[in-house]
Symmetry: C2
Subunit: 430 residues, 2 copies
Amino acid sequence: MKSYQEMTSAELRSELELLEAEYRNVQDMEIHLDMSRGKPSHEQLDLSMGMMDVLDSSSDLTCEDGTDCRNYGQLTGITEARQLLGDMMENNPKDIIIYGNSSLNVMFDTISRAWTHGIMGNTPWCKLPEVKFLCPVPGYDRHFAITEYFGIKMIPVPMTPTGPDMDLVESLVSEDDSIKGIWCVPKYSNPQGISYSDNTVRRFARLEPAANDFRIFWDNAYGIHHLYDDHQDHLIEILAECKRAGNPDLVYKFSSTSKITFPGSGIAALATSPNNMEDFLSHLKNQTIGHDKVNQLRHVRFFKDISGMVAHMRKHADIIRPKFEVVLNTLERDLGSLEVGSWTNPLGGYFVMFDSLPGCAKEIVALAKKAGVVITPAGATWPYGKDPNDSNIRIAPTYPSKEDLQKAMDIFTLCVRIASIKKLLAEADA
Amino acid sequence: MKSYQEMTSAELRSELELLEAEYRNVQDMEIHLDMSRGKPSHEQLDLSMGMMDVLDSSSDLTCEDGTDCRNYGQLTGITEARQLLGDMMENNPKDIIIYGNSSLNVMFDTISRAWTHGIMGNTPWCKLPEVKFLCPVPGYDRHFAITEYFGIKMIPVPMTPTGPDMDLVESLVSEDDSIKGIWCVPKYSNPQGISYSDNTVRRFARLEPAANDFRIFWDNAYGIHHLYDDHQDHLIEILAECKRAGNPDLVYKFSSTSKITFPGSGIAALATSPNNMEDFLSHLKNQTIGHDKVNQLRHVRFFKDISGMVAHMRKHADIIRPKFEVVLNTLERDLGSLEVGSWTNPLGGYFVMFDSLPGCAKEIVALAKKAGVVITPAGATWPYGKDPNDSNIRIAPTYPSKEDLQKAMDIFTLCVRIASIKKLLAEADA
């Protein structure tokens, strides 16, 4: 098929007529499908139902160190959970705090604490005239929501295929001491599904920020969320690299089991340097007596060790890999030759990123919605919801069934084609 | 026996000699006992082990409204948990948010949010020159720790047998708009174990604070924690009373199942007015996608309804009532006629409050510690850890076994007697 870019206006108009007829047919089908959020499917959740069996009324809920998990205490989490998540995060258990059910909540609290009390004795951010964060774009909307909520000025930094534009990151953080942090999803990034290169991680570890209290918010949400056995991204462990670089306190690293066991009923973790850890705990002790240790124990007894967790992730991959293939195959089949957009080909994580012709994303999402397919709102991947090119769309393949996903993608590519032709015709008219 | 107050110095000295010999014997026994925190005992925790059986791998973890508890969502908590805790708290389920594992954490977050963003559009507290809280004393050390952490100036308000001195509360809050809140444990208070009278609650509901953003922090931690079937305190429901008084937004009411099921693995709740609820949720949505719904469901399926919970609390009472009796009987047996202190006689909750002669509390706690008995530090029941009379001691009977508790109380009253005689002798010398 001819690329849309090569077609005459007349050809485009006749193609549009066909597509709009198809679109009207789709609308008549009264479809309701949701590809908007990175949620596991029922089948994935079923994989963890065994976790409901590992503790029963005859279980001894005592930890290895003698702690009764049923009672108060253990601010850092139980030893065996720190061990398990340490293995998962490739960090020393000593450098880990196990939290409650949400790493997003830990990130929020971390910013909130910096806001009210400052980091390691530095001025509380609420007392500063301005606080800024670097936001690699496209990125994760809930990160941006937290920084926006605190009135932190967000500075977009373009993502490249190897991670954020490090020339720009280096020059910005070294010049401006009001820049206090950067949001990173370093592995199978949200929404691109790409992983930071070794060189990118090394440059992160060697940043020389003007602000003492600058921290990298390293949200390693998809550290073991591979799609394939044979093709996997590998990420240099950032804490060790920071230590090597003489910058041990530069990073807060977050992770959780939200997309391993149950979102909302998993356990979250922070890994950081001993200095940062001491700082965290001195605040945290005022906030809580401790997190849910029974659930920590439940996770440990279910997985036993990191091998159990890795085997479990393979089962997740078996369920979601075919869904990623539906997305990628449909994009290729319907748009491959049309020159109306590009997309990523991730080896893990929860998302595929689609970039339309400039100025088409909102129109595509709106068209899809009117045909019954809900997609993450256009602009959501940018700070303040404002994508300057109006081109970026996040596709979340995991939640719908394979069949529903195929229907949704058929409609999605139809909407891309319609919006693209309209855009090209408008340009030709102009 | 003669009261110490009536003894001559010579009599006191000879009594002291006997007591100190006894104390040295006790020290030789190398006892290690802990009466410091309000923690349930193993036997109490065993009561909830059945909760580990209600969900297994064959369970349907779908809520009544169709929500899959295993996945993301439901910021306010699942409907059936709101119903159950609504019944427990005597509030409409609509007025309830179910949180994570700790009501203390909810209180911290509430203050933190007022600090960073303000309450209902009012100036964030971090922007004000001074913020003050009223602290009924003696009170709960972890409440005071939160306000101290935020640099909120704490103003002690004396507790009476019917609750805080309401004349003082009314006059302070109506005059000073920098007073933004008051900590209350209205039922079976920490540490007195007393409950606010109807008149006190009615006066709270009719407060006319100078500050729009003044809130009563109503920590109803022991709402159903009775010791007796036949003698129970009854507390007027504060939200309803506030509504009646035309002050619907005056109160944040907190509770949890921490001392019903497992501390650290329970569920916490907030009850408040629709306006406050809207305000809370508008912030909370930035902090988390939702709390642990599986644990909410576990609690609901275990208790089924409020009758199940009440029956469960009777079993707790059967375990802890004999311990309260050990404390009260030993105080009466050893100190009843000596005029060296007074104590409360609670009908519920987790504590007995002891008041020594002025200036003796630190000495008593230190003596007990040297004899192997850990008691809550003297002063802990006061803001900044400073008890101006140095007389107040919180006794927590629940955690040790009855036998250990008897040993600990024997030592405690011995220490009270020693410290009291020393004090009386020092006064006689002066």
